[in-house]
Subunit: 189 residues, 2 copies
Amino acid sequence: MPSATEQKIIDVAVRLFASQGYDATSVQEIVKAAEVTKGALYHYFRSKDDLLFEIYRLLITAQSADMDRIIGLGLSAAETVREILASLVISTAERVDETAVFVRELHRLGEDRMTDFRAERRRYHETFLAVVEKGQADGEFSSVVPADTVVRIALGVVNQLPMWFRPDGQKTPAQLAGEIADFVLAGLR
Amino acid sequence: MPSATEQKIIDVAVRLFASQGYDATSVQEIVKAAEVTKGALYHYFRSKDDLLFEIYRLLITAQSADMDRIIGLGLSAAETVREILASLVISTAERVDETAVFVRELHRLGEDRMTDFRAERRRYHETFLAVVEKGQADGEFSSVVPADTVVRIALGVVNQLPMWFRPDGQKTPAQLAGEIADFVLAGLR
DNA sequence: GCCACCCTACCGACCGGTCGGTATGCCCAC
DNA sequence: GTGGGCATACCGACCGGTCGGTAGGGTGGC
């Protein structure tokens, strides 16, 4: 349970990192915008990198939990794919800044954290892959395009979302989620 | 026609920017790795930003030329989409570093250059969009998913390519290009 | 009831080091 | 001899991080 000060620092950091990039944002800038002092920031975070990692952690945790929940529903392959994609698109659209930072600054993770991250992403990827492969094996999906390429395409789209999705645009996240899921499922028939 | 020194600086900069990020790469590092001096770098480039922008310019110019060439062939909508995607995937796979830098550091462009860039990307986007819309109007493609979403998905996949494509992986760029084009076209039927 | 003690939360001046960029001049091809 | 193509020495700004200190609330001994 983060304190109000800690939460404020994270919120401001996400916004600044998203709009200017991690390196281009100084710690001074963050504390000024968050109306706290450097002492406060370094009281809660061991380093600037730690702050960045905390942003990642919150995002990854939420996404993994979401996927596990959907898998647990025991739906058909098509319904599972639709649910996973839709929920991923919606949660990403609601957190464009976090996702933008995440995608852009991923390479900054240190050795250890990168290893942890890869393991978690691999798990995520393979869970999704298994759903698609099962759908293909059962004849519910076409096998023309290999399952791994399909998964790469589907997840890639979501990562690119921050590049063009605008919260004040014409389409709601839910609409968009429907369209993207429709398209991917159409490609699987 | 760039001199050998200039080309060397660009090549090295692309490699370093791709692996460490723009801000995390110092000018010192670039000149050392390129075996030139700071004087040489600042002789050819007005600033570090200029160097980055030159990388963008080379990439965008090549992509736009490619698309114009394909449009000029006068193929059917499906064939045009296939050609555009395939050639984009292949050229991106051959230039993963440039693309990685491009996608990751886009936000660093200054006001003016950002405006220019948006205009060029818009042109690119709309050219592709027009092909899809024509295909839908002619009944060659399904209209279930709006054309703009399809274009966003297709181009998004390409931008994400550097995240997972490995030149030494199992699939050749041409194979991958085929699979991606297949999938997008399947989604359009 | 109160005081000594401590602990968490926070402050902000300051530090060593690095950064992008510049000023100046050599040198060789033409 | 002169100008393009560099080399070298150097600058001031700014960066992430530190550190001695403080404010204020809880708490146990008496």
